[in-house]
């Protein structure tokens, strides 16, 4: 009888103990908010749709149509706020090429970028500055240009036209003898149309590029391209 009673009391004690434990756990969870919620978030993240990714892989092949041949190119890729660069270099400078035969200067500069994005605004733009380096090592600007990275998947052969700011007739005369010439104060103007209305420019040669665009998970968001 005594043992039965003690067993019964032990059972009640055990149940009380377990109840107290679960209550303190729940209280602790409510205070910290961390253990329960991180478990839930982890489960949700594996169920969420993965983010859209964009790969831009290709080459800046070379340039043609410029007055002199010894050219190099400074390039960069500009995107909107929704895009994040995961791997790759988004700007660089090519080698200086002096072609022995023909007119085209060849750089064969590789581009390999991996972006992830939350929105379509601010699709990547590739902007270029073509410079000429003479035998004395002086660099002169030969052109600015920009091109949008193609928005459809596949391999694309692109031609980017370039332009150069033109100064007053006095500047042009001095340029003929001494070289140099006006340059943009900030390179943002190459790919934005905001403040161009007072600029007077002259067209220069073209830059050839070959880019392959690989899209991933864009169809899950309903994007058609």
């Amino acid at each position: 009888m005594r043992t039965h009673q003690s067993l019964k009391s032990n059972e009640t004690l055990r149940r009380l103990f377990l109840f107290a434990c679960s209550e303190t756990q729940a209280l602790a969870a409510r205070w910290q908010h961390k253990p329960c919620q991180t478990k839930n978030i982890h489960k949700q993240s594996t169920r969420k749709t993965p983010m859209a990714e964009l790969h831009i892989i290709g080459q800046i092949i070379g340039a043609t149509g410029f007055p002199q041949n010894s050219l190099f190119c400074k390039w960069g890729v500009h995107t909107g706020g929704a895009w994040r660069l995961l791997s790759g270099l988004k700007e660089g400078q090519t080698q200086v090429d002096m072609p022995q035969t023909g007119d085209m200067a060849y750089w064969s500069h590789p581009i390999d970028l991996h972006y992830t994005t939350k929105g379509l605004q601010g699709w990547p733009k590739l902007h270029l500055q073509v410079w000429h380096q003479d035998s004395f090592g002086r660099c002169q600007l030969y052109g600015y240009g920009y091109i949008h990275v193609p928005s459809s998947a596949g391999q694309h052969r692109l031609q980017c036209v370039t332009w150069r700011p033109l100064g007053t007739w006095q500047d042009q005369l001095a340029e003929m003898f001494v070289g140099g010439g006006p340059q943009l104060r900030s390179p943002d103007l190459i790919y934005s149309g905001a403040d161009r209305y007072r600029l007077h420019t002259v067209g220069m040669g073209t830059v050839e590029l070959e880019l392959c665009v690989i899209l991933r998970h864009f169809d899950r968001y309903g994007v058609e391209s």
């Binding site: 080698q95 022995q100 390999d112 459809s152 392959c212």
Partner: protein, 201 residues
Amino acid sequence: MTSNNPAVFLLMVNGQIEAADFPEYDGLYCKYCFVYGHDWAPTSGLEEGISQITSKGRGSQRLVWNFPLDITFKSTNPFGWPQIVVSVYGPDTFGNDVVRGYGAIHIPFTPGKHTKTIPMFVPESTSRLQKFTSWLMGRRPEFTDPKVVAQGEGREVTRVRSQGFVTLQFNIVTKDMKKLGYETTSEHSASTGLTRASQQP
């Protein structure tokens, strides 16, 4: 073995280094190697090779190698897509073996047949005196590692001279890229025939 959730995709490359076009030089041979990112690994085939020495025929100015390429890669990520680096060497006036050109190009991205012509360039000597002494001694400026040609960094200080072309042919097969969600061709351009242009024989 087909799986519903593949973790890697495969890229199979068949092809050849067909011929070269160097107006001023003769008796050339080429070396090739593949440069790829950290996520890529070759599963079969040869990563490097040296071709035979070829000369210009009587009728044409082309230097024909017909050198086979056969390699398969596996990867989880298109970043670091493999590039082939071709270096061409030949004898100079005194008989020394000097470099005649370096060139690199990405392996084509879409399945099918592709013909690519890549320009070849050599590093230039800094001054005319160096140019003369290197011509005399037979020690031309060359890259210590040809793989530099496949990278974008550190090239802003190099001055090069382009002096020839090499033609390559590729046949590409990919496996499981679509299952992993990667689109390398677009439906719209496929209908207008734009992406098929490079696959015309």
